[in-house]
Subunit: 410 residues, 2 copies
């Protein structure tokens, strides 16, 4: 008998029929003798409907009240789910954030979980009940409702799994696992059996939308095994777990890409202390996230500074940086939206030499020019022209043999 936390996303509970299907699936595991805690998102479309209502009222809804409004979505899902389970002859209880005791800070709309109580859930499990918990929501120390931001239900599920010391946290979604790369781009993309937390974090931050980053950080911190799988099949998905020796045997685990960034270059910046700070301060103050930053070695006290932001922030960034460039006496500011970031990820990079060299060679072999490079311990990202994205992904996938299942006994 295991204690299993399952999370079903908005598409999985997007209609009454689907809620019934989820209920049947959960009951099956319950009948096998497992203790079931189910975290649900709002029914697909409902969150957007609530936001639309608020926007009809005001351009800039009060964050506290927006959280009160938004949290009704998950409340509807868990009530309907518990009704479905009961109508099928099994016992269930829905629990809201305040009933479980999911304590967060006060950052409305993007709150972080501090603590999760287990008393009420364990009490319900002890009565052989299936427990449905509202995802995405918590309570601050003032007793006010908070929400955790997009994808927050993943975090709720992992936090519950950690607090309950669950055997596994199953994240049900509309894809059937984590792939070596986007199957839409590369037909040979392969579903991974396992991936490490760190790799998953890199994949997520690079645009793979399977898991929300914070949930992975949480899982890593508390060593909660996550099973990413599909609501619509019974097949195993991908296990996201702590790094093992096995993983290191493969140099590269996956290829990711992101077309959602744009590049800004400040040419001929006088290279004096504090100059980067002067350039980025107005950008950060405007709430714009900067991703890659590259500064070349200075020559004659003059340097070029290049960085990337999301395409949505591009024009605002260009305006802010152009103003700063004038003030500090830089030559000019160049912008480029037609770029993509392609990354290879793998914990094996730590022990395999020459991975970067191979990546650069492969891209050069296709005449793909590399504009920027950024590396971490388990990732190499390059910025290239956007039109080469798919080609780059496919040749890298092939070159690192990602279509082949890693040998267990290698």
């Amino acid at each position: 008998m295991a204690l299993i936390v399952q999370k079903y996303g908005g598409t999985s509970v997007g209609s009454i029929e689907r809620i019934k299907a989820v209920a049947e699936r959960v009951i099956e595991s319950h009948r096998e003798g497992h203790q079931m805690v189910v975290v649900l998102s709002a029914m697909a479309g409902q969150t957007d409907g609530l936001i639309a209502l608020a926007r009809e009222l005001t351009e800039d809804p009060d964050p506290r009240e927006l959280d009160v409004l938004m949290s009704t979505g998950e409340q509807v899902s868990i009530a309907l789910f518990a009704m479905a389970v009961k109508s099928m002859g099994y016992d269930a209880r829905s629990l809201l954030g305040f009933q479980v005791g999911i304590h967060t800070d006060r950052l409305y709309g993007k709150a972080r979980i501090h603590e999760v109580e287990t008393r009420r859930i364990l009490e319900e499990l002890g009565k052989q009940r299936i427990v449905a918990v509202a995802g995405f929501q918590g309570l601050d120390d003032h007793g006010d409702i908070t929400t955790l931001g997009r994808g927050g239900s993943d975090t709720t599920a992992v936090a519950l799994a950690a607090a309950l010391n669950a055997d596994v946290c199953e994240i049900y979604t509309d894809v059937d696992g984590v792939y070596t790369t986007d199957p839409g781009v590369c037909q040979k993309a392969r579903k991974m059996r396992t991936i490490s937390y760190d790799e998953m974090l890199e994949m997520a931050s690079l645009g793979a939308k399977v898991l929300e980053i914070r949930s992975v950080e949480f899982a890593k911190k508390f060593n909660v095994p996550i099973h990413v799988r599909s609501t619509f099949t019974k097949e195993n998905g991908t296990m996201v777990v702590a790094e093992t020796k096995d993983m290191e045997r493969v140099a590269v685990s996956g290829v990711a890409y992101n077309k959602n960034e744009a590049r800004v270059t400040v040419k001929k910046v006088p290279d004096r202390p504090g100059i980067a700070c002067q350039i980025f301060e107005p950008v950060f103050e405007a709430g714009i996230n900067v991703d890659m930053i590259v500064q070349n070695t200075s020559e004659d006290g003059i340097t070029d500074l290049t960085f990337t932001v999301t395409k949505a922030d591009f024009y605002k960034t260009m305006k802010l940086v152009s103003e700063t460039a004038k003030k500090i006496g830089a030559e000019k500011v160049l912008g480029d939206e037609d770029i993509a970031k392609v990354s290879i990820i793998g914990v094996g990079m730590r022990t395999h030499a020459g991975v970067a060299k191979k990546m650069f060679e492969v891209l050069a072999g296709e005449n793909i020019n590399i504009m920027m490079i950024s590396t971490s311990e388990i990732k190499i990202s390059v910025v290239i022209e956007e039109k080469y994205t798919e080609l780059a992904v496919r040749v890298l996938h092939e070159a690192f043999h990602l279509d082949e299942e890693p040998h267990e006994d290698q």
Copy 2:
């Protein structure tokens, strides 16, 4: 400076535009220096939408989970209202049942309020905030969500007014007050300036849908003055208050009618002890409410028993009673759906003699036959043929001079 509790029904907050209008109205009172606590219902249509979702899932939704589902309606209203107030430059806080501390019993779907905490509301009022409270919902001693049943938001408002010792509880609705009778039936119907709790209770139980009965009982118990008024005008409505000497000066305050009942007569019942019990037991056990009961004086140990039930329960009742009639040896069971109950109400009846006589005379004058009579201290109800309902209401209204404003100095 007064502490005012206001309640707005589903029609009053039925759209974003109307929520804004309510916010403006509340802000106006706030600016006049009053402390404002606003109880809201779910937006019109939302409650029915949620019920429809549940029924799509199962014929017989679990009551606990139905309350979790239903209570989201009011949560949406108060969040949007508080956003509206804030967007207009004033401070507001929405509070749910669990945040206020509205404690109820565990009767899901028709819970009764035990206790209302005031700490959090007073704290918010102390910060010059407008407080919006979700109507209709509470929390049982297990920390589970309960709802108070149809019209429960009225009860929430009155209970809050009682706990906060508010100066007045204003119930905003789509009619502008309590009338001497249904203005749709009698053009001369007059809006009353005041009505006593007891009269209001009789009016409500006789089908006048202005206030929910339990809210009036609550108001009477804690002596909370209720002001029934329209969301769509600034005019004063009707004050529902404790009985005063003035009220006794008028014999009759209002005329009510109810076409929603049917009559069942058991003919020639052997009149022995326990016979009424035998007839009604299966009816009560089926959850059917019996309204008027009349039993004639027995003649030769044989009597007739007549009673009324709602039309919805009529066929079920006929079936149950016919079975009993056979068992106890009654002659037959007659049923009649084409009846109406017409009532006159007034605390003045206590001191005015001859009110009943006048009522019977007036009806006889129009050749309206009286089938059943039932009286209380402040009410006389008669059952007549349904087709005479409107005529009876009009002639009674006229005979008791209800179109004339009562003289203050009478």
